[in-house]
Structure formats: structure tokens, C-alpha cells
């Protein structure tokens, strides 16, 4: 596709349920990021995938959060046993790397998660 695609755009779930959020990056982009945007908190880095390297998971807030990237393309962010404080907009971004890379991130529209 032309841009970063995320699904679902909105998800309402009950406390304690598991959720999966999907990100389809721009074709050919080797780097993929997940950020969380909460009201008044800005963008909080969660995890970063770069090619075949081990992901940088340093931003994941707890072991209830995990992410994978299959085949170097689509990524899924999974939140287990959701809590109300997990309510936020989850943003995915991708970027190209290597010679001539601009360092610019291209963001998706986000997945708004509401935990009741």
C-alpha cells in the first residue's frame, strides 16, 4: 500500500481480555516501530524492529506486552490481560534505512484501544 496501515482503527475490550493490533508497513521499509500515545503523555516508545536484528524491546511497559514481526513485514502487537491504563492510541511507524536514509518515520493512523 501507499502508507502504513493499521487495524483495527478502534477496539473496545473488557479488562482482562487479550487484544491484537496489526501493522502493515510501507513496502520495502526495513524498520518498524510501535509507539503509544496517551493524553498528555506524548509518544511513548514501545518496540523497534530493524531487519533481521533482535528487536529493541526496551520500551515495553510490562510482560503483558509483546510484539512480533513476521517475514520482515507485518507486525502484531499483543496485549494480554488488558488493564484500564492500557487505554491509548497505539501507533505504528516504518522507515527505510541504509545509505541515503532520511531517518524519517512514516506513521499509520493508529489503533485506539479502550479498556472498560
Amino acid at each position: 500500500g501507499a502508507g502504513v496501515s493499521q487495524s483495527p482503527s478502534n477496539k473496545v475490550t473488557e479488562k482482562g481480555k487479550d487484544v491484537e493490533l496489526r501493522c502493515d508497513p510501507i513496502s520495502g521499509h526495513t524498520a518498524l516501530y510501535w509507539y503509544r500515545q496517551s493524553l498528555g503523555q506524548g509518544l511513548e516508545f514501545l518496540i523497534y524492529f530493524q531487519g533481521n536484528s533482535a528487536p529493541d524491546k526496551s520500551g515495553l511497559p510490562s510482560d503483558r506486552f509483546s510484539a512480533e514481526r513476521t517475514g520482515g513485514s507485518v507486525s502484531t502487537l499483543t496485549i494480554q490481560r488488558t488493564q484500564q491504563e492500557d487505554s491509548a492510541v497505539y501507533l505504528c511507524a516504518s522507515s527505510s534505512t541504509g545509505t541515503g536514509a532520511t531517518g524519517e518515520l512514516f506513521f499509520g493512523e493508529g489503533s485506539r484501544l479502550t479498556v472498560l
Binding site: G42, L43, Y48, L105
Partner: protein, 114 residues
């Protein structure tokens, strides 16, 4: 670890007023600096960036930013704002040689009144 501070959380201006949004970063090495903008109902997009060279960089829609290394600052400016500039503005920093991981500030919500 790098960090970014945006001291203005909410700014309200009238059309044609001048704008300056503060951004300070904390990192001892060489950095790349960015401003991203999020218009209401839209996704984040790049406004401008600084990698090297002229510390005064110009972006889209008449925005510019000046990198002052001695002050660890990268303030965003626009001489005359428009109603359509109403948006949330995020400053971000990336450590050179540290991949493309960006650390963002908490954002500044700008409202431009007619």
C-alpha cells in the same frame, strides 16, 4: 539515554501572530532532530528535520527551526500563523549511529483563533 522536553503544553494564538515552540534535548553525542505535526484527525507527519550543515532549517508551510548546539535546543518558529496550523507539534531526537529510534517530547497543542 536521550530525552526531549517541550515546555509549552498548550499555546493559543490569534491568526498572524508569531509562533515559537521550545524544544530541548538531553544527549551528549551527535543528534538528528525533527519536528512532527499531527493535524486534527490525521496521522503524524514530518514537518522538518536537521541532520547537519546550516543550523537553520526550513520545512513545509513556512515553518523553520534553529538548532543551537550550545543550548541543546531546536525551537520551532513561524512568523505568521494561520488557523490551519492548529495541530499538535512534537519534537523528536535521534542519536546518530543509534539506528532510527526516535525519542519524542510530550507535544505542544497549538490552537490558532480567527
Amino acid at each position: 539515554a536521550q530525552s526531549v522536553s517541550q515546555h509549552n503544553h498548550h499555546v493559543i494564538l490569534s491568526e498572524a501572530a508569531s509562533l515559537e515552540l521550545g524544544c530541548n534535548y538531553s544527549y551528549g553525542g551527535t543528534v538528528n532532530l525533527f519536528w512532527y505535526v499531527q493535524y486534527p484527525g490525521q496521522h503524524l507527519q514530518l514537518l522538518l528535520k536537521y541532520f547537519s550543515g546550516d543550523p537553520l532549517v526550513k520545512g513545509i508551510k513556512g515553518f523553520e527551526a534553529e538548532f543551537i548546539k550550545s543550548k541543546f535546543s531546536f525551537n520551532l518558529r513561524k512568523p505568521s500563523v494561520q488557523w490551519s496550523d492548529t495541530a499538535e507539534y512534537f519534537c523528536a531526537v535521534n542519536a546518530k549511529g543509534g539506528g532510527n529510534k526516535l525519542t519524542f517530547g510530550t507535544g505542544t497543542q497549538l490552537k490558532v483563533e480567527l
